[in-house]
Amino acid sequence: MARYVVDVMPKREILDPQGKAVLGALPRLGYGGVVDVRQGKRFEVEVEGDADDDRLAEVHRMAETLLANPVIEDFTVHEDGPSIESVETTQPRDDS
């Protein structure tokens, strides 16, 4: 089994109302100095077999056909590595 990650972001020149809403909420929580927030989507695509260039190209086609709308969004595709997994499962130790 191989896993690929597709990150989709609104293009810089396209208004991102959801990111703006998050940007507006952060100061209310006491976070100062945040100048911009953009909100995108992350897809994790699991496929049979091993990761190889053909599979990567196939996931790329999935992304440009369905997962992203290239008119308004940019996307990147990469094979999911174990380091990303461990980052996700790391629990914050500071309990303050």
Binding site: L15, L66, N69, V71
Partner: protein, 222 residues
């Protein structure tokens, strides 16, 4: 004139669109998203709603419904196709129309009677209107902001492909106040406001929307 109205899972306004077709003098034909068959209709309406729950992006999944293969093929041969609201989003996702529709800039759902100017009355959906006619029809959307890159906007404006433009306040942040556009051939029209909700005095903001459907009924009589 037989006008098909497609029902997707999550369509809301298919019944109103079919009713508008009948009130305008046409025959409405129910089409199903899962059938790659237009049942020999002369024109197609993609109605408003939240097809496939608006999951992923509005219209993104509907684009791949079996019925859309036929709609895209027949649109290429000149069949009149009207996409209203969610239907407009589906037409953009299908690349039958340029650009895309994004979340309203003010982030709120908007529901109101909206004044529009019909700037292109040369499409089969608008030819019963006088050029630059000002009409009031219902607008209701959460993701109605039309966006396209600058060259596309210039082409739309330069070729007279802006079918309808918002008057008074821009309700959703649409670039150039665009409420509706057409394709190069002029047979495919996408419109964010809802003419099918403005066809009877009893329930709507007047009957200004009837013209979108009456134009094709007139064609049949020729």
């Amino acid at each position: 004139m037989r006008i098909g109205v497609v029902t997707f899972p999550g369509s809301l306004d298919d019944a109103d669109a079919a009713r508008a077709v009948r009130l305008a003098g046409g025959e409405s034909v129910a089409l199903w998203h899962g059938d790659a068959d237009l049942l020999g209709v002369d024109a197609v309406v993609l109605p408003g709603g939240f097809s496939y729950g608006d999951y992923l992006r509005c219209g993104a999944i509907s684009r791949f419904a079996p019925v859309m293969t036929e709609v895209v093929a027949w649109a290429g041969r000149g069949m009149p196709v009207l996409g209203i609201c969610n239907g407009f989003q589906i037409l953009c996702e299908s690349h039958l129309l340029p650009g895309a529709l994004i979340r309203n800039d003010h982030r709120k759902f908007v529901c109101r009677d909206q004044r529009l100017r019909i700037e292109n009355n040369r499409t089969p959906w608008t030819w019963s209107y006088a050029e630059n006619a000002e009409v009031t029809i219902v607008l209701k959307n959460g993701e109605g902001g039309f966006v396209a890159d600058e060259p596309t906007l210039e082409r739309l404006e330069g070729d007279g492909r802006v079918v309808a433009r918002y008057l008074d306040d821009n309700p959703n942040g649409s670039l150039h106040d665009i409420a509706g556009i057409t394709n190069e051939q002029g047979n495919v029209v996408g419109l964010m406001p809802h003419p099918e909700h403005a066809v009877e005095g009893l329930t709507g903001a007047g009957t200004d929307g009837l013209g979108f459907f009456a134009g094709l009924a007139t064609l049949a009589a020729r």
